[in-house]
Amino acid sequence: MFRPGFIAFLVAALFTVSYGGLRASAEEPVGGDMYAGATECKNCHEARFEVFDHGIHGTSGYFDKNFIGCESCHGPGVMHVVAGGDKTKIIGPSTWTQAQATGFCLNCHIKTPRLKYWEGSIHQRAGLMCHDCHKVSFSRATLDKLLFKGTSQADACLRCHTEIRIALSQRSRHPLRDSSRPDAEGNMVCTDCHNPHGTVADHLVDANSINDKCWQCHMEKKMPVLWEHAPVKENCLNCHTPHGSSNKSLLNQPESFLCFSCHPQGHVGSVNNRWAVSRGCLNCHSMIHGSNNPSGVMLGQ
């Protein structure tokens, strides 16, 4: 349906427009080229400096010989100091474009394996910047070592992914509801499955495929067996919705309807139907993920 000519036209048009002179104005350096040193920063920003100095970034100098404290990210600060703290004389990443702001972080974090798929990832394409989710300064001893904004990692993600907030309070769910309190269900975090910076697999799942991620915890479903249920090995999401569901067992439809989507021999005519009560079709087809029993062809044993 997409003819090669159309695709070629689209690509050519983009290049033409690109070289046609329409370009964003690059931000010029605002702080000059003279560094003031961390002590100067501390004089005015003592509280913030203390947090930074004892945080992860404050100790990162051990990894980078060029580490120069606050000015590593904020740029040379002498003009800012001389001007009595004029904010226009110092770099503030929050006022920069995405490329400029993330560029500061990537100067060091290009070597961070989890960031290697950042460029071209869905969050990068959506214009997100590092400080949309992360803090720069945080206590070094915190459990929240990844510097997330908010009370927990999930809190940072759910600000935008509001539909997940619904799912986590549903009848069946994975346990990552509000890890900020000891009385909450919080033994999982979003990054147990996702890498928000970009991945090989769909949905920012941090593995070679969706199934490869699920199998890390549910490895009993990974092994090849005598009688395979083909959709199972292709994609767990064919049947499950992982964050939460109104249905049992994280199913994306009620049991019998889910099965009849591909096996429409019957129907669920009423609630008294033996294929509708309790676990539906799984009342008998218990080994729905596959059976290794010589008589398990119908996935019943």
Binding site: Y117, T162, R165, Q170, F260, H263, G269, N283
Partner: protein
Amino acid sequence: MAVVQMFDGTATADFSGELGLQQKRVAGERPSQFTAYRDLPNGFAWGAFHFYAESNDPEQPYYLKLFGRDLLQDDQILGMEAGLRGDFRLRLGYKETPRLYSTGNHFLERYTGNGRYVIDPNIPQTLQGFPDPAGSAVLPLTDDAAFRNSLANFLKGAQGINLRIDRKTSTAELIKRINDSLSFRLNYQHDDKEGTKLAGFGAFDRNFVTATNFEQFRAVLFELPERVDYHTDILRAGLDFTRDNGLVQLTYEFQNFANGIDTLRWDNPFRATDRTAGSPADPNLFGLVTAHGLMDLPPGGHSHIGTLSGTWMLPPWKSRLTWTLSGGGTWQDDRFAPFTQNSVMTASNLPGLPLVPSLTPDGGSLKAEVLNFTQNYQLAMHPSEALSLTAKYRYYYYDNKTPHLLFPGYAGNGDSEWLAGLIKTTAPSYLRQNGDLDAEYMINRQFSARANIGWERWRRWERDEPVTDERKLGAGLTVKPVKWAKLLVDYKFGRRDAGPYDARMNIGPSLILGEQTARQSDLDGCTRHTAETSLIMSPTKNIDIRANGSLTYDGYDTSRLGLRRRRGWLAGTQVSFIPADPVTLTAGYSRNENRSLFHGGDAKSAAAPGGPFFQDQNFIYTKMRDKSENYSLGASGYIIRGVLTYDVSCNYTRGAVTAKPFNPNFPDINGAAALPIENTRVATHSAKAGLFWQLSKNLSLNFRYLFEKFNVADPAWDALGNQISPLYQDGSLYIEDSRALLLNSRYSDYTAHAGSVTLSYSF
């Protein structure tokens, strides 16, 4: 948090730890559901703690971190991290995650180990004595009060069991920097899952297998606690090579899965002895034949995976190439379980069993092998300051090399009949490839436009619908009218088509009925339109607004059965507002709704039960709607700055799944009526409050309160008013005397209050 100097100033340390009292009160049909994923014991409780120390010597910057949460509880977390900055890092972790399905289930059998449940012989002997109409010409009774009473009496004396799995995960990670460019990684994870979960077993009893009346059969549904004894080990070792312009990683991974229990075996509570055919004229006519049941549990196996991945900056157009090449395999060679537990089914009365010499009922194995190969390439380019291009290609090959085995038949329908005939196993393989080309152009600081074209192909071996292609096209716009607001709008179109049908592959006892349903399974002819938007606004320093929404429409132009159409929409917002310095307010609302039209198989005519299947007049349509929404409110702030702070929030989530079957042709030639299905409804209310009182520099007091109210109404459960339930096929002439003995793991509601007071000390 205070920081203190230790060891004569050579080290700096800080610490905080909590201990306190907590109390909960839970009421409802099954209160244990409140603790499905957590442990909240009444009484004394350790809270969270952490300890951190680091050397002040810049030449030897050692550090140590210890942390934990919910100590000595079933959901405890413990961790340690130590290292020499710039040189090495060692992390150790331990985590327990409970999964409590239900408590207080009554089960008639006793576990004797190694997956074996044993029943008091008196129970099946008694229950077998009740009239069993199988094999007779008399339709069974719809209910048998004497049978129910007898079974109920046995259940009164049955042991109470919990369905619960405990997961314990231990992890270790070492990263050692060899030089400025090279570092070594070693990860190990051991995971134990032990406990029980719900399993079901169904046996069938076919009656009257005649030309006109071939589907009257009754079922025995039997639920039991499946023993879980899973042990997983994952070992990863790798080298990271880094330069200023990139990174290359080489990783080897070994995974091993062991199931401590090969098979689950039990005694049939309804029969003490195996039974021969009910009618010599019809070998398919068995009735509740097996006195013992068997289920083959997931087999153990292992994997080896090697991965070469990396990212590198390339000179032209400030490009970055990122790639992943991964290959490996998975092997499984567990010994087969017997064909059957039913003594009636022996080689002597079922000639030809077994056909494959190696597949003696108590021997043989599959020697399964799956090879995986993944390639992923991503090239991000910036031809100009304004233009970004990203090209992606992905290749995932699941190559199932498992040998094909030939079987003479199988013990089907819950070990209740031998279904003869050669059956060949399949070893489905697939190759998934997809590619995308994304372009983004920044027109000016206010507008960016983007476009995307994509393609995806599934190639499946040993499937009758081997090839499916999907093509996608998308466009979007980012608008930043002011510095404090950003709006993203995207539209995507996709079309999925299946290739030629290969009837030769419609083999074996597959439940796929042919080309039509095979195409449907692969979503042939699906057209998808998706529109998405998101908004981020911070008009002042005190207000943060996030909103997102989407519309989806899926249409299927060739499928006759199954899903016909789906429409969905999502809207959500989250607002944070600081009206005055000490107070932060948050509010959120989101709603997600999907509507679909489902085209089911036919309801067999009550007037002509022996009539053919799949008559258009009898097809039942179902309108389905899955709706869920969430409301949240919160406030936090301080009453006395630095001394008394608070945090309160409430959350309400509800979901509903409705299914409305209808027969557009009713009344039709056969009178197939659609019967109503009740709705599934779920609601969760929660309210939390916390008050933090800083008593002194080192001491603080934390008050927490949690309220949760949960209820679910599910017709699939609500129909099970009793553990022993007569079940009926729809249609008045299809009443069957199905017998069920279920574990009653359902739950409907709970209301919980939990409060705690903890004293925290920190230095």
